[in-house]
């Protein structure tokens, strides 16, 4: 698997550290136990398109969101996590 980093270009996967599902929303501190359960432990774990955080430790050291088919590892999209956060604001 090779990931096209928006800053560094196409790089081998061993330059990156995966860090689990992207797009999880941290609940408010006063949220219910079930909201926290959802956030900390429960995952969709889809066989198909899956957004996942990767840290480019061997390159630009930015956090990326890689959208990939978990059955084939075909990558559909790579964006910098910061850009996606700013766009959501």
């Amino acid at each position: 698997m090779r990931i096209v980093c928006p800053h560094c270009g196409e790089r081998p996967v061993d330059e990156f550290v995966p860090y689990g599902a992207a797009g999880l929303k941290r609940p408010d501190a006063s949220a219910s136990t079930s909201d926290w359960l959802d956030y900390v432990y429960l995952r969709d774990n889809k066989a198909g398109m899956h957004g996942e955080l990767f840290y480019h430790v061997g390159g630009c050291r930015a956090w990326l969101i890689v959208t990939r088919d978990t059955r084939t590892h075909a990558i559909a999209e790579v964006v910098a996590a910061r850009d996606q956060r700013d766009a959501a604001r």
Partner: protein, 416 residues
């Protein structure tokens, strides 16, 4: 047919013409008392113990492919019970006890070989941690021996003891651990369950779980609707997908784990050795191939194949432990999809849906747990409540905070 030395001799004289298929290739009936989703080691073991221990024989095992095509045939065949935490030690020890009597129980040669499992330590801190683990095991009646460097050297003289970065200081040995021929476990349980009347339906994929008024009524399959009073899910790497059919989200991520076998060589490793400074474990199959494995690739995967950087990393670990490995060629490699749970421990128990039972989250540890997993899951399904051995593995431990985190890695499935 009962297998014995006499049946072997009779067939030898008969030109081997009288052997019958070991189990029937059944088609699903309209209705069962229990339907097990997943014809791997755990599903088949569950069916066997449901029939044998609880007298429930109106059971179907539904498998989307052929039985044993998943993780029961994709592991490195190691069995052991060297666990530290209270929820784990008794469960895995019960599993090892069941392994010890398995072949007589199912009348099938699974080549259970108690050749020992040796975990190496490479620092003073690791020795202390292993001493603690060994003591916890012995307090639970499990065998454990802490070996110093000289004792390890006598047992396995071919390691690199003076590796500048990872010198071997000693090891924790469980002599009752060892290896089992993994395919034979699937086949043996299938045959034993079949003989007690269980239907094993291959190429029969479950496509939906029907729930009415909070209770299961059956499953839709590629071979039609099958009505069921109770449904047990034992789908390993596909657990999240199957549970989603009933509207459940699980504390699980699916990851690929690779394993390897080298070309065959003369007898070399007569035990199981694990490298303590990384994640590498090796043993030798009876055919002569060295069987070894290591860490997950690290990202979510439903593809039963791994990536090359992880192969390179694993082989470097192997070379750090046993430099002679560099002279061998890797013959085959393969990947299995692990149901990595959020605390590194499995889930066997009830679910919020009546009649639906879950067996999942086995991480790397599924194979050694096969007998106890089936035994406890059968008890849970038959009685509607867990056995004391699997009560700590309930699904709602994540709500209540009663996690069993053997590695202390937290909610990071790819690190367990």
């Amino acid at each position: 047919m009962r297998y014995s030395v006499f049946s072997l001799l009779a067939q030898a004289l008969n030109g081997q013409k009288g052997w019958k298929p070991a189990w029937r290739d059944a088609s699903p009936k309209d209705e069962y008392d229990v339907v097990i989703v997943g014809g791997g080691g755990h599903g088949l073991a569950t069916a066997h113990y449901l029939a044998k221990e609880h007298g429930i024989t109106n059971v179907a095992v539904l498998e989307k492919s052929t039985i044993g095509s998943g993780n029961v045939g994709r592991n490195t065949t190691i069995i052991r019970s060297n666990y530290l935490l209270p929820g784990n030690t008794p469960f895995y020890e019960w599993s090892l006890k069941l392994w010890e009597g398995l072949e007589q129980d199912i009348n099938y040669n699974a080549m259970v070989s108690q050749r020992g499992v040796l975990n190496l330590y490479h620092s003073d801190a690791q020795r202390d941690a292993f001493a603690r683990r060994g003591n916890a095991m012995r307090l639970n009646g499990v065998d454990a021996e802490l070996l110093d460097r000289a004792a390890v050297r006598k047992l396995v003289p071919y390691l690199d003891y003076d590796n500048a970065r990872f010198p071997v200081h000693g090891g924790l040995l469980q002599r009752r651990g060892g290896t089992v021929r993994h395919d034979a476990v699937a086949w043996g349980y299938a045959r034993a369950a079949d003989q007690r009347g269980v239907d094993i339906c291959q190429n029969c994929e479950v496509t939906n779980i029907r729930v009415e008024n909070g209770r299961v009524i059956g499953v839709d399959t590629t071979k039609g609707f099958v009505r069921a009073k109770k449904i047990g899910l034992a789908a390993a790497g596909n657990s999240s997908r199957v549970a989603a059919m009933a509207g459940l989200r699980l504390p699980i991520e699916s990851h690929v784990l690779q394993a390897f076998v080298s070309e065959g060589v003369k007898p070399l490793i007569d035990t199981v050795v694990t490298f303590g400074a990384g994640h590498f474990y090796i043993n030798q199959s009876d055919k002569g191939g060295l069987v070894f494995g290591g860490d997950l690739d690290g990202y979510n995967s439903y593809a039963q194949r791994g990536a090359l950087p992880h192969v390179e990393h694993l082989l470097e670990e192997g070379m750090a432990l046993m430099p002679m490995l560099g002279r061998l060629r890797v013959l085959r490699s393969w990947g299995g999809i692990m149901d990595m749970s959020m605390d590194g421990s499995p889930i066997i128990g009830t679910t919020p849906i009546d009649g639906l039972y879950l067996n999942a989250g086995w991480c790397y540890g599924g194979f050694k747990a096969t007998p106890a997993s089936g035994w406890c899951f059968a008890h849970t399904i038959a009685r509607g409540e867990p056995h004391v051995l699997n009560a700590p593995y309930r699904l709602n431990r994540f709500d209540t905070g009663h996690l069993i985190d053997e590695k202390g890695a937290g909610a990071t499935p790819n690190l367990h």
